[in-house]
């Protein structure tokens, strides 16, 4: 791996011969196989701690206001104090505590939404892929329709009219996540249902429900994992976008997106009120994306082999 001269385009680009050979896993790729899940695990553990025992980690309550200590900078800046390690916001609330408690809101909402949406999508995908016919056609059309529609707009209009509450928010998010699951599962089932082990199961008299749950579901579970982690990332962004627009979780519940939008007007004098909630969102999304990447990388050869029918 010699360094490449980027600044000398006059030299003809050497087409690496190995492009034409069977692809092999690079050094970077191998390192990714360790780093990606490690990062994912780290963020996952932090997130779980923040969700389960926020009171043990957070310095103070996320809703305690201290108007005498508004917009205090983080501890490493002049005027910062150890009482508020990441500073305070415009109402004197502790930014660090709000980030920690906000994790619970975002994570739980996204988790429930993707699980509900994922289960529904997977069920529809399994059923429609296995049975085919009118049901399959209908599910496919529905998926295409929803994927061809700007979902953020739909979510905005629903939340604007139906009111802003957690159940509505979760429903809206779950409705956004089923098509991805349905599409992937349906595609896999379409090829799996012709395979011998399914034929065998049918031959020994398994009922359809048993074939679906005991034979097909385990076979698609790997793909479900991949879709789920990418979808979790997507839903976290969607949730915080909606909260940012003032359509998500309502105060006083701490939420990263809402904190960002509340602190926006103080951006010029207190960047920390915006920096840390956003950093938290980005870390969670990055971790979910990396884990998805990793699972896909690990499963890729297996998936390919099974598709080739070996």
């Amino acid at each position: 791996m010699s360094p490449v001269e980027v600044s000398a385009p006059a030299r003809p680009v050497e087409m690496p011969a190995r492009v034409l050979v069977v692809p092999r896993r690079s050094h970077a790729g191998r390192r990714g196989l360790v780093l990606k899940p490690a990062f994912g695990l780290l963020v996952g553990v932090l997130l779980s701690l923040c969700t389960l025992v926020p009171g043990e980690i957070a310095p103070t309550s996320p809703t305690d206001q201290d108007l005498a200590a508004r917009l205090r900078p983080p501890v490493w800046m002049d005027g910062g104090s150890a009482r508020h390690p990441l500073g305070t916001d415009s109402l004197g609330r502790d930014v660090c505590s709000r980030v920690i408690y906000g994790a619970r809101t975002t994570f739980l909402v996204a988790l429930v939404a993707t699980l509900v949406g994922g289960a529904a999508g997977a069920a529809l995908g399994l059923f429609s892929g296995y049975h085919g016919g009118l049901v399959e056609e209908l599910v496919r059309k529905l998926v295409d329709m929803q994927l061809a529609f700007p979902y953020l707009l739909l979510a905005i209009s629903v939340l604007a009219v139906a009111g802003r509450s957690v159940p509505v928010l979760v429903t809206v998010l779950a409705l956004s996540s089923w098509p991805a699951f349905a599409r992937i599962v349906r595609g896999e089932v379409l090829s799996l249902r012709e395979r011998q082990f399914i034929e065998g199961a049918r031959a020994i008299g398994c009922r359809d429900l048993r074939i679906l749950l005991a034979h097909l579901l385990p076979s698609v579970s790997a793909s479900l994992c991949v879709v789920w982690s990418f979808d979790l990332a997507r839903v976290v962004v969607l949730e915080s976008s909606l909260s940012f627009l003032g359509l998500g979780v309502q105060p006083p519940t701490p939420s990263w997106g809402m904190d960002l939008s509340d602190s926006r007007q103080f951006l010029q004098i207190a960047y920390w009120t915006v920096l840390f909630p956003g950093l938290a969102i980005s870390l969670v999304v990055l971790a979910a994306n990396l884990v998805g990447d990793w699972v896909r990388d690990v499963l890729d050869p297996i998936v390919k082999r099974s598709r080739a029918g070996v």
Partner: protein
């Protein structure tokens, strides 16, 4: 003649999709709550509510409302905005230029940056450059628009003072919103270009070209890119739709006077007709762009029979 038939068919399809979109918006808005409650002031009595319902035509049967909605939509009559006291479509019309300008600028930026980077990443596969670009792409896909925008504002607007942070004016106002909006599409375009070029480079006809002694440049530019860029063109088009509707968030961050921000403001001021008009308008814009892309795609790649891949 055959081409004409295709175009006619596509236009018919477009009409059906637009009708479906409009109906979907109608159903969602009607089923998710009582618009009269949203419009009414907090101290409104039941009689006031009834009056508002009558005024909005909400007291009539659902089917009649639906027909009325479609009729009005067909002639572009999307009711009066409460706040602006003018037809909603007129208010939207004044803002559409800003949204389109922002989306196009972001798209152009994404194309200009992403395609060369993707090609570079593919032909330098498995080098530090490729690894670095891939890492960067993953990072760019993980950072939400609104936060990236705010941070860019802090750095370039507040601390460095190079660029204005909000509003619409000269070209300098466009830079921050456009870069922010383009970040995600830039990342996915780079990724797609890379994988597409890699896939094409391992095709048999490239091996043949190499075997007959062609140099790396002619192979890349004359043979490989023509095919490798077909999916990239498709994604570019599809992203334009996403950018138009995704601009809601970026417009809010940068106080960009486009349709997205107008719609969000309308939600907060309970200007229900304007919300409905904004959503219908953006959704239709999105659908029309997507269908247009689908047409172009078929024209570019004669192998495709079905819609898209």
């Amino acid at each position: 003649m055959r081409r004409l038939g295709q175009i006619a068919w596509a236009l018919g399809h477009l009409l059906v999709v637009m009708l479906g979109t409009a109906s979907l918006v109608f159903v969602v808005l009607r089923c998710s709550g009582d618009p009269a409650m949203m419009v009414a002031p907090p101290q409104a009595t039941l009689d006031d509510l009834q009056a508002i319902r009558r005024e909005l035509g909400l007291d009539r049967p659902m089917a009649a409302q639906y027909v009325e909605f479609l009729k009005k939509l067909a002639v572009g009559d999307l009711a009066q905005s409460f706040r602006y006291r003018r037809p909603a479509l007129e208010v939207l019309g004044e803002r559409v230029g800003a949204t389109v300008q922002l989306a196009l600028a972001a798209q152009l930026l994404a194309i200009v940056v992403a395609i060369p980077l993707g090609i570079l990443s593919a032909i330098r596969r498995d080098t530090w450059l490729d690894a670095g670009l891939t890492g960067f792409v993953t990072l760019a896909q993980s950072i939400p628009h609104f936060w990236l925008g705010l941070m860019a504002m802090v750095v370039f607007g507040v601390y460095l003072g190079w660029l204005p942070t909000s509003g619409r004016g000269g070209w300098s106002n466009l830079i921050l919103p456009a870069v922010t909006l383009s970040s995600y599409s830039m990342a996915s375009l780079t990724r797609l270009t890379r994988s597409s070029v890699l896939e094409v480079l391992s095709a048999d006809y490239i091996r043949t070209a190499r075997a007959k002694g062609l140099g790396a440049w002619p192979i890349l530019f004359k043979h490989a890119l023509k095919n490798a860029l077909i999916p990239v063109v498709t994604l570019t088009g599809l992203q334009l739709g996403v950018l138009l509707s995704g601009a809601v968030v970026v417009e809010t961050v940068f106080a960009w006077p486009g349709i997205g921000r107008l719609t969000i403001e309308a939600i907060h001021t309970r200007d229900y007709p304007l919300v409905q008009a904004g959503v219908v308008f953006l959704a239709l814009l999105f659908v029309v762009v997507n269908q247009g892309v689908d047409l172009c795609y078929r024209w570019l790649d004669p192998r495709t029979i079905g819609p898209g891949r």
